[in-house]
């Protein structure tokens, strides 16, 4: 967005802007495999991440702020993930949900599975587990929101990849 990422904004404006990004994370669920079920479970009554302002109404990547890659990424699928990530407008965040998208999980020796989504797109938060519990995803989201609340977009773009957050580490 031109200005935001080039200039260090004054503190009050930065605060408001960060607050907006923090509580309005329209999420695009890249539901690949088993973890997608736990992602849906997190969005429904018992766990309900809409409470935190994570809105699952982004039907396409263009409207999304947060990409949750949940499940096994195969070599055949990888180009599509990359493309959808590229279609998302900045500023965008990525949560890698589950062992498969973190590192390949139980399919680490498979001939058709990509060993981690971080090989093709940058990841902000890793949530380990096979599949992780919904609580773990909530934890990951809150950690991400904490980071968004205090970050500077200029720095984010300048530094490229940031130190990722690992839930439970």
């Amino acid at each position: 967005m031109g200005l935001v990422d080039k200039v260090e904004l004054p503190q009050p404006i930065k605060f408001v802007f960060n607050w907006g990004r923090k509580y309005s994370l329209w999420v695009f669920n890249f539901g690949l495999a088993c973890c997608a079920i736990e992602f849906i479970a997190t969005s429904t009554a018992r766990h309900d991440f809409i409470r935190l302002g994570v809105i699952p109404f982004a039907h396409g990547p263009r409207q999304a702020d947060l990409l949750v890659v949940s499940g096994t990424l195969t070599d055949k699928m990888a180009p599509a993930v990359k493309r959808l990530y590229d279609e998302m407008p900045e500023p965008k965040y990525v949560i890698s949900f589950g062992s498969c998208s973190n590192c390949g999980g139980p399919y680490w020796d498979s001939y058709s599975v990509t060993k981690g989504v971080d090989q093709i797109i940058p990841v902000d938060v890793y949530v380990p587990g096979c599949p992780p519990r919904p609580e773990a995803l909530l934890h990951g989201i809150i950690k991400l929101q904490e980071r968004i609340g205090s970050e500077s977009l200029k720095e984010r773009y300048a530094r490229g990849e940031l130190e990722p957050i690992v839930v439970g580490a």
Partner: protein
């Protein structure tokens, strides 16, 4: 019909052309690749057998003997299974397609073709099904080694099976 009666019924029709075997109540008949289509047609159309339900078709690597193709069908009216097995050579193995007998065989033959490298004669569209276009090799053959396993030891304390 139970497996033994089925075996006798099929043997009466084909005689020595098939090699029957019953294990755990399941009849498997091994046939030459030339007889495969004939036996399949009989299993599908014979009134006593009439296996109308397509279960699966898969390959089994038999190493030096070649690749065995196993066709498994079931009858919803008689409730019995028949398994037809035929061994083809590792290189250039061809079997006639049975997709016109059971529509479900279409995808199973495509899958077997890409994972084992067996061709099916008469199949309309023997393209890759599961793997990306640029994938090379037939991964379910025994000579296809998993690269990750060569590069990295098993992460557990013991090797599988110990």
């Amino acid at each position: 019909m139970d497996a033994d009666a089925l075996r006798d019924h099929l043997a009466a029709e084909f005689g020595d052309a098939l090699e029957p075997e019953v294990s755990f109540g399941l009849l498997t008949v091994t046939v030459e690749d030339g007889d495969y289509r004939r036996v399949a047609e009989f299993v599908r159309n014979d009134r006593e057998v009439s296996c109308n339900f397509f279960d699966f078709l898969c390959g089994v690597d038999e190493e030096a003997a070649g690749i065995a193709v196993v066709l498994h069908v079931y009858s919803t009216s008689h409730h019995h299974h028949v398994q037809v097995r035929s061994v083809v050579p590792r290189d250039g193995g061809v079997l006639p397609s049975v997709h016109d007998l059971w529509a479900g065989a279409d995808w199973h033959e495509r899958e077997t073709a890409e994972l084992f490298g067996v061709a099916f004669d008469g199949h309309p569209h023997l393209a890759k099904l599961l793997l990306p276009e640029e994938f090379e090799g037939h991964p379910l053959r025994k000579e296809f080694a998993l690269l990750a396993r060569e590069a990295k030891p098993w992460p557990g304390a013991k090797e599988p099976g110990e």
